[in-house]
Every structure is written in C-alpha cells, then in structure tokens.
C-alpha cells in the first residue's frame, strides 16, 4: 500500500513538474515519461504482491469532507485491474516520448504529459478507493484528464465534436452513478463501500440497471458505445491505446465491484449481460470490419472485446444464480483475463496504428499498403497483435476466450434448459466473433502492411522510432508470454474472482482451469516447435538453391497497378454485403452505361447506426423540451438574481 501511495504521489508530482517545464518541451516530456515509468514500477510491485499473496490491504486517512472518508482498499480484484493500468501507461509513456516529438513547438506538450499522468493517477484512485465520494472524484478526474487528451488536436472540427460528445456522455454516466450510490447507501451517513447494502426488491434491480448504464457509458458496450469510435481515434495514438486498453475497462471494474455489493444475483441479470455481450461482440466486430480507417476500426473492435468480457461476466452471473459454480468461475476468470489481454494487444495495435500514422500521415486503409517493407518491425508487432486479438494460438487472446468456452461447454451438462441455452448462445456467438475478428484483422494487416503501396504517402513511409518500437516489442512479448505461460495466472485470477464471486465458486477455478491451461500452453509450445521443424525442412529443401524473383502472377494481364489490388472494402465486401441489414451502410454508385463507359465511382459510407437512429432523435426531443422553458432565459442579470432569491425563500419555507 505504501508503494502504491508512492506511485500515486510520483504521478501527481511528475504531472506538476511537466507543467512547470512549460517552456521546454523536452524537459516536460522527460518529467512525464520518467514519472509514469517510475510510478508504474512502484505500483506493479505493490499490485503484484497482493496478487501473489491473495491478501487485502486497506488504508484510512482522516479527511474533513462530509459524507466521505479517505479510505483505500487494495484487494486482489483491484490489484488485478492495476496491473494492466500500470503496464500499459508505462509503455504508452515510453512510446509517447517518441510519438509526441513531432508536435514539439506546435502543441503544449507539457499539458499533454500532465494530463496523461493525471489520467493514470485518476485511474489508480478509481480502482483503489473504498468510498463513493472518493470514487466519484477519481471518476470525474479521469474524465477531465482524458478529455484534455482527446482535444489535443483541437484545430480539427471532428476532434472538437468527438470531445464534446465524450464530455456529455461522461456527465450522463456520472449521473447514473450518483443514482446507484444513493440506492446502495440509503440510510448510512457515510458513503464507504464497506457500509453498502443490497437494496430490497425492485430497488436492487434499479441499482443493477443504474450500474449497467453508468458504467456501461464508460465501458462502451452497445448501446452505450456511441462516443467510443469518435473519441478514441481522435486522441494521440498512445492515449488511444490507454483509453481503449485500460480506461474503458474501469467501467467493467465498476460493474464487477458493484455486483459484489448486490449479491445474490437473479438469473435475469446474467441473461441481460449475456445478451448485451453477445450483441456488442457481434455488432462491434461487424462495424469494425466495415471501417476503412485503421484507428476507428480498432475503436470498434474495443466494443467487440468489451462485449466478450461482458459475455463472460453474464455467464458467471447465470452460473452463480443456478448453482453452476464451475461455469461461474471459468467464465469470470476468462472475462477478467480478457481485461488484461485486451489491454495488451489493443495497446499494441493502437501503437502500431500510431506508428503508421506517424510515418505516412494517414490511417485511411485504402491509401496504405506495402508498409511491411518500409517498417518491418512495426509490421511484425502489428501481426502479433492481430493474431492475438483474433484469439489465435500461441498468443494470449485464445487463453481468455478458452476459459469462457470451457465454462460454457461444461455448463452444457446443466439440468436447467436456460443455463444450457445461455452456454450455447455464448459458444455460438464467441465462435462467430472469433471468425469475424480474424476477417477484420487479416484485412487490416493485409491492406496496411502487405502488397504494394496504394499512395505516395505509403510509398514514402519510414520505420518508427526506437522508443516506439521498444514499447511495441514489450507488449508483443507480453502477448506471447501469456499465451505460453497461462497456468501461472490461475492463482491470481482465482484470488481476484474471490472478491466478487461466491467463495465456493471462486475455488472451482483452481480445480478446473490449471490442467487444460497447462495443455494449452504445451500445445502452443508444440506449435512453435512444429513451425521451427517445418522451417528447418524448408531450409533443407532449399539448400544450395537461389529462389528466383519475378512479378506477382497476374493471370496474363500485362500492366497491373497497385490500385488493382484487393483493398480494404473489397476484402470485407462479401461479409458486409451479407450483414447489410445490420450494418445499413450507405452506397454511392454512379453506375456504368454504354459500350465504352467513362469514369465512374463507388464508395460506401458507414453510418453510426445507434447515434443517428436513437441518440440524435432523443437529443432533439430533449432540446425541444428544453426550448419550452426558454422563456426563463431572459439574459438579464436581475432575473437570475430574482430566481436565486425565489429559490432560497422557497427552500426556507419548505424547511420551516
């Protein structure tokens, strides 16, 4: 706990230092980066100790604020969420030291670094606070700091729009959280988590729904996702990595933490979560598949991965309520591990996208191509990230999905039909999500890094800087490590699961997970061995020969151009066509006519379905409602003072 406090202080001090070095961008960056890395080391040691021992540390300080006490709680669940926070922010800071260099002199780097470290500090505060007031403080600080980072490039109109949307959504989410906390502590004078009680009857359901909406607006699962694909691509890439990788996971953390106060859970909560998870997963990856912009695509894929996590959480709730403890434990463990895994590979992929943006000036997939020759290392790391996020062996994505699958297949033995159907729904949607993710990321990697460059920008690309490559390499190795050493993670996962699940359920993880995971790791190692053997066979077959070089076989067509390659939208077209009823992409096609047709054009435009069809009309309705009261706004100071006086007198009379 002391180390954690130290890391918190380091973050605040380095943020302040960055601001002090406003005049010198280099010094401000140095303060930011070293602060972030030092804080992460201290924090990781602290969190790691909790995870290995399985204990809990608490800290209470006197605080003269009504309703609140300055109390912190570091239990295994909090420690488990701290790991990705510290890991990713440290690597993102290292990456950012290179990435932001080109902005020096043009942008206030000091402010960016201060906001970055403040964001990390806020996330630590959210995870460790054991008091609702403190939690809300951290929550709002997190929103404010990330808002500053999103508006980094505020000269672009799109960025300003995204940032405003982000701000509004953050406020709306906070509103739901206030409702939630007031439901959880109706009579107690303090807002300490330790005094939280499950409300009675229908109020418990209300609390669950408030938690779902309030934290959902941060986690970004469907239908609360509208801000995510706008805000995440708008931020600088290392910030996108942190936002997509860990910040949205705090919404998941919130739901998990609140569920622990709301036990016992009715089965329909679980079903709600399973449905939301399946829909977010499927629609998220479909939307990602139809995007042409690399960073937007990654943002949509975050919706998909949050969906997978929620799916696992929902299965855990269904399993617990039906007494299927192995299902509950394995699904919860899978969801929790996916939080860490997604932080690693999504951070890696956003950094890769940032390297592409940095080097070519665009993330438009149709303008890229052939980058693997220009930036081979970035390409390799991006490839690792793509394979990991598609859940392919020998990387980490498979491990967490495997746990959810394992729980679901085990739950097929359940006697109640509803548990079996929940498990079958999870199996079906997870496999479809996996196959769609593979399509999505083979498209992203293929059009971005393979083939011939599709534009002059792509042709003139250069390899990313050393710090950027180092950060990506570290994350890529972390993905590989978890894929090969997953059994080591079972004990920490079980400890963290014990903070939310029934203790009988949490221990099932130790019973059912280690053996299959050991086999999984062994098989991953066997795969690498087999690959090595086949590669050796190839080298043996090719000994003493020099492979010939030629053009790509073009089926007899003599003058192929880079534009004739299969592009991002043509690659995705069979799937986007098939799922057109769900995607509703607009098509603009000029058509061809005559025997010698002239120039024509075709392009598709992806609509923000929920934003256009639900949120915009709802906002318009609220605005119309608000205009009814516009007569209150006279614009004269006297009137406003009159309102205040009236309100005061009314309150006085009411209290009397």
């Amino acid at each position: 706990m002391v180390l954690l406090l130290l890391s918190f202080v380091i973050l605040l001090v380095s943020a302040a230092l960055s601001l002090c070095f406003r005049r010198s961008p280099a010094r401000a960056s140095a303060a930011g980066v070293y602060g972030a890395v030092a804080a992460s080391v201290a924090g990781l040691v602290s969190a790691g100790r909790i995870l290995l021992s399985g204990g809990t540390e608490t800290l209470s300080l006197p605080w003269p604020v009504p309703l609140g006490s300055l109390s912190f709680n570091l239990d295994p669940l909090a420690a488990f969420f701290l790991v990705p926070v510290f890991l990713l922010t440290a690597f993102a800071a290292i990456y950012g030291s290179d990435y932001l260099k080109s902005y020096a002199g043009k942008k206030p780097l000091a402010l960016a670094w201060a906001a970055f470290n403040l964001l990390t500090a806020a996330m630590v505060l959210v995870i460790t606070s054991a008091n609702a007031v403190l939690f809300m403080l951290g929550w709002e600080l997190m929103a404010a700091a990330s808002f500053l980072l999103v508006v980094f490039e505020h000269e672009k109109a799109q960025v300003r729009k995204a940032a405003f949307l982000y701000l509004v959504v953050g406020a709306a989410g906070a509103l739901f959280l206030l409702l939630l906390f007031s439901l959880l502590s109706p009579s107690s004078p303090s807002f300490d988590f330790s005094t939280f009680r499950r409300p009675e009857g229908v109020l418990a359901a209300a609390a669950f729904l408030a938690a779902l909406a309030g934290f959902g607006l941060k986690a970004g699962f469907i239908p609360f996702h509208v801000w995510l694909p706008e805000a995440h691509p708008a931020a600088p890439s290392h910030v996108s990595a942190v936002m997509s990788g860990v910040m949205i996971k705090l919404g998941i953390y919130g739901i998990m933490r609140m569920l622990s106060f709301l036990a016992p859970w009715p089965a329909w909560w679980g079903w709600t979560l399973v449905f939301i998870g399946a829909v977010s997963g499927l629609l998220g990856v479909l939307f990602a598949l139809s995007q042409h912009d690399l960073k937007r695509m990654l943002a949509y894929s975050s919706i998909e991965n949050v969906g997978i996590i929620i799916l696992g959480l929902g299965l855990a709730v269904v399993g617990t309520s039906h007494g299927m403890y192995p299902l509950a434990a394995l699904a919860f463990g899978g969801a929790l591990l996916h939080v860490l895994n997604h932080a690693l590979f999504k951070g890696l992929l956003f950094m890769g996208a940032g390297a592409v943006l940095h080097s070519t000036g665009t993330t438009e997939l149709e303008a890229l191509g052939g980058l693997a020759k220009k930036m081979p290392q970035t390409a390799f790391y991006f490839l690792v990230g793509s394979a990991a996020i598609s859940g392919l062996p020998p990387f980490n994505g498979l491990v967490s999905e495997f746990l959810i699958y394992l729980g679901s297949f085990g739950a097929l033995r359940a006697r109640e039909a509803s548990t079996v159907y929940a498990a079958a729904l999870a199996i079906g949607s997870l496999s479809a999500i996996g196959a769609l993710a593979l399509a999505c990321f083979s498209k992203a990697f293929g059009t971005c890094f393979l083939g011939e460059p599709r534009s002059a920008n792509a042709a003139g690309a250069h390899e990313a800087g050393q710090a950027m490559r180092a950060a990506m390499a570290a994350l890529a190795w972390a993905c590989c490590f978890i894929g090969l050493a997953s059994p080591l993670l079972v004990a920490p996962l079980a400890a963290a699961a014990g903070c939310v699940l029934d203790p009988r359920a949490a221990s099932e993880l130790l019973r059912y997970a280690p053996l299959p995971l050991s086999y999984l790791s062994a098989a991953a190692a066997a795969f690498l061995g087999a690959a090595l053997a086949v590669a050796l066979l190839r080298a043996f077959a090719l000994r003493g020969r020099v492979p010939a070089a030629g053009p790509t076989w073009d089926c007899g067509y003599a003058a192929p151009t880079a534009k004739m390659q299969y592009g991002a939208s043509s690659f995705a077209q069979p799937l986007t066509d098939f799922f057109q009823p769900a995607l509703r992409a607009a098509r603009h096609y000029a058509g061809i006519a005559g025997y010698f047709p002239g120039k024509t054009s075709f392009h598709t435009e992806n609509k923000a379905l929920f934003y256009d069809n639900f949120y915009t009309p709802a906002a318009a309705y609220i605005r119309r409602l608000a205009f009814r009261f516009s007569w209150l706004q006279q614009g004269r100071l006297q009137f406003y003072i009159l309102y205040i006086v009236t309100a005061l007198i009314a309150l006085l009379i009411w209290k009397l």
Partner: protein, 220 residues
C-alpha cells in the same frame, strides 16, 4: 419404435426448415404434401393397437394431403401463371433464424403447457413449430398461393398437435378441420384463378390498391 417415431418428428421439423427456405414454388408444395403424408403416418407408427378405423382415416388423410391438395395447388399455380419462384419479403438466413427461434420458443412453450405427457418426445414442440412455419409462409411470402400453402402447413401442425393431445379420438376433430381446409383450398384455388385473370398477377401486396382509403396527398 419410439426412436422411429422420434425420427419422424425430426423429419417433420426438418421439413419445416425446408419449407422456410425453399425458393421453388413446386418444391414448396411437394414438401408440404410430404409433411402431410409423414404426419398422416404418425398414428400408425406411434405403437399400440391399430384399429381398422384408424387405418382408414389415416389412408384418407394421406390421400387427401399427399395427392389431392398438391394436385389442386400445382394446377392453380399453372393456371394462374404464378411463376416458379416463391417471392419472399425476408432473406434465407432470416427465415432460418426465425425457424430456429420458433423452435426454441415452442419447446419452451411445450414444456409450460398443461398437457398430458406425450409418449413421443418433441411431438408438441414439433407441432407448434409447424404451425409457426405456416404463419411464416403466410406472413412473409407475397404470392397468394403460398398463403394457401401456409394454411395447409398450419393444418399439418394442428393435426400433429391433436395426435399429441388426444391419442384416442383425434380423428373426428381432424376430419372437421380437414373439411374446412379442403373447402378453403378449393375456394382459394378458384379465387386465385379469377384474381389473376382480372389483374394479371396474384401479388397480394397489390390487392391493397383495392381499398377505399386514399392518402390525403393522392386526392386532388
């Protein structure tokens, strides 16, 4: 024997799926006929003592559903110039998803209905699913002839439902319904024929032009 009856029930459900996805009108009619025949065979296979009366009724039903109805419908199709295709309002995957969803819903419903326990598994869900498939044909297909077909499929479902409920005396109920459907098919066959002669097509969507309500902007 029960495994065999179960297999037949599975076959009935697969025929439902096939009905929901077939694009050819003639195949659709034949599948519905086959389903009727299979359903007609069920009482003979459900085991137990078979009376002559049961046998005769089963024969009559099979003859009517397997020979007369398809013949009438195919004739109506040719005479009315309905074409060879089933024109649908929804796509194949959606149809199949609806069918599977209907099957899950009817298995849930079947477990909730206060029915005497049937001696063949799945007979109640299968009948409900068949009835639903009939509704699917009626509501999501445009041609009038598929509506008739939908009624026939619903009748198949009701017949199987009757088997599940009254293993003893399903025949009287069934005969009454069959008579209704027979008249319905007959009348609709004539109606389709005449409508197509009047309007050159039998798309029911176009029939809405016959109503006397006009949109305000159409009235000059």
């Amino acid at each position: 024997m029960h495994t065999f009856a179960e297999l037949i029930i599975v076959f009935v459900i697969l025929l439902d799926l096939a009905l929901a996805v077939t694009g050819s009108l003639a195949t659709c009619i034949r599948i519905a006929a086959l389903q009727g025949v299979v359903a007609g065979l069920l009482p003979l296979l459900a085991g137990g003592h078979i009376e002559t009366r049961t046998f005769l009724f089963a024969f009559a039903i099979i003859f009517l559903k397997g020979v007369v109805f398809p013949w009438l419908l195919l004739r109506a199709r040719d005479r009315s110039g309905a074409g060879k295709e089933v024109e649908t309002l929804i796509s194949y995957p959606v149809s199949i998803l609806l069918c599977i969803g209907a099957f899950i819903a009817s298995s849930w419903l079947g477990s909730r209905l206060p029915l005497p326990t049937a001696n063949v598994a799945w007979i109640v869900p299968a009948s409900l699913a068949t009835i639903f498939t009939g509704f699917l044909l009626i509501t999501t297909r445009t041609k009038a002839i598929t509506q008739v077909l939908g009624y026939l499929v619903i009748e198949n479902g009701i017949y199987i439902f009757g088997l599940a409920l009254f293993v003893e005396q399903p025949m009287m109920v069934e005969l009454a319904i069959l008579l209704d459907v027979f008249v319905a098919v007959f009348v609709m066959g004539i109606a389709i024929f005449h409508i197509s002669r009047e309007f050159d097509h039998i798309d029911t969507a176009e029939l809405s032009e016959l109503n006397d309500w006009r949109r305000p902007e159409d009235v000059k």
